[in-house]
Amino acid sequence: MKGYSYLQDVATLELDPEACIGCGMCEEVCPHQVFTLRDDKAEILDADRCMECGACQTNCPAAAIRVDVGVGCAAGMISEWLGEILPGRRRSGGCC
């Protein structure tokens, strides 16, 4: 995504090259062009571009990708933390 980059070295994205079958789905579904195919294997080009949407993990038929899926939203984070402190509180943030 041109002109934008968020915090570095935080993304939880992991790719297991052993398990990868080189189908290219991750490259196809990633909205931030994190992956590329090289020698019939997926490769992480730039993990810092990852927004942890989980499209690659959901669509990897070899289960070679792992990412902590979530929405990068402060209101959602606050709501999540409040939910941990106050059990029984309905979990709904200002996020979509």
Binding site: K2, M25, Q33, M51, G72, I78, C96
Partner: protein
């Protein structure tokens, strides 16, 4: 006013069993955008039940997901209606829909076409090929501008409590109540809200650092300096203004993370862990300065 379109299979124009099948959410705006982009064409539109939520948000929640797609294919008897076994989905649906799972369960292959509905005609006419531009996310000035009303509404909800309390506190002077004294304080606050919800989002790519909290704080400091130049406050009153205004702006800017298409959960978590304690400290220091200024 309803924002829901009943889920199910819709015919656009006069589709045949060979016509393409597109899939979307039952949020009225998603449906209208897709239908608008496809005007004059003949095809099928399979609308999933996402409870009136757009594709991206519903995919994150899983309602625009494999389960619902499989169920909707069966409920609409799609396999009896069309001769082919291919579905065209928005790229934003990929977090929820697993192409290989849907194929294994229904026989329908899933193709993620483009991010924007406006690109569907080019996709269909270009031999169902996704070009790099159709995959490229953007966050233009205009795209940021349309988000501002939502940010303002969220900020106003909090302001319903903050503004009256702020006005009362500011109007209390030497044991007397002078309503005019509340005006500068409320003005400073309104400027802080504008700094966090209007200026920071609009200037987002040009503001320094990757951190939304820092971007917002910087705009807040700028506004407070302009404000102080106008009202002429000095000393601890000025310090209180800079601190409190930048905290409000910073917090609201941090909130904008939820409206952008590039912030990760881990990133927001890290940023909040670092910035919230600083904001809390600045808030306490700001109120301290204010009390000190009022007692002098």
């Amino acid at each position: 006013m309803s924002y829901l379109v009943p889920a199910g299979l819709y015919a656009i124009g006069a589709p045949t069993p060979g016509s393409p099948v597109l899939v979307t959410a039952n949020y009225k705006m998603s449906y209208d955008l897709v239908r608008g982009a496809l005007a004059g064409r003949n095809l099928w539109l399979l609308v999933l039940e996402t409870n009136g939520i757009n594709v991206w948000c519903a995919a994150g929640k899983g309602t625009f997901g494999s389960e619902e797609l499989v169920a909707r294919i069966e409920a609409s008897r799609l396999a009896d209606t069309v001769a082919h076994r291919s579905l065209i989905l928005p790229l934003f649906g990929a977090p929820g829909v697993s192409a290989h799972e849907v194929r294994a369960r229904t026989g329908f292959s899933v193709r993620f076409a483009a991010l924007k509905a406006g690109d569907i005609p080019r996709y269909l006419d270009g031999g169902m090929r996704t070009t790099p531009e159709m995959r490229e996310l953007t966050f233009t000035f205009r795209e940021r501008l349309v988000l501002i009303p939502v940010e303002l509404v969220i900020a106003l909800k909090g302001s319903v409590w903050i503004v009256p309390l702020l006005a009362i506190a500011a109007a209390w002077r030497d044991g007397h109540f002078s309503p005019t004294a509340a005006i500068p304080a409320v003005l400073a606050y309104c400027g802080a809200v504008a700094a966090g919800t209007i200026v920071t989002p609009l200037a987002l790519p040009w503001l320094p650092t990757r951190s939304f909290a820092v971007k917002g704080a910087l705009v807040g400091v700028l506004w407070s300096l302009l404000f102080l130049a106008a009202v002429g406050w000095r000393g601890s009153a000025a310090a209180a203004t800079v601190l409190l205004v930048s905290v409000v702006s910073s917090f609201l800017a941090l909130n904008f993370t939820g409206s952008t298409p590039y912030t990760s959960r881990s990133g927001v978590k890290r940023e909040m862990r670092l910035s919230l304690p600083v904001m809390a400290g600045a808030l306490v220091a700001g109120f301290g300065c204010w009390v000190f200024a009022a007692l002098r």
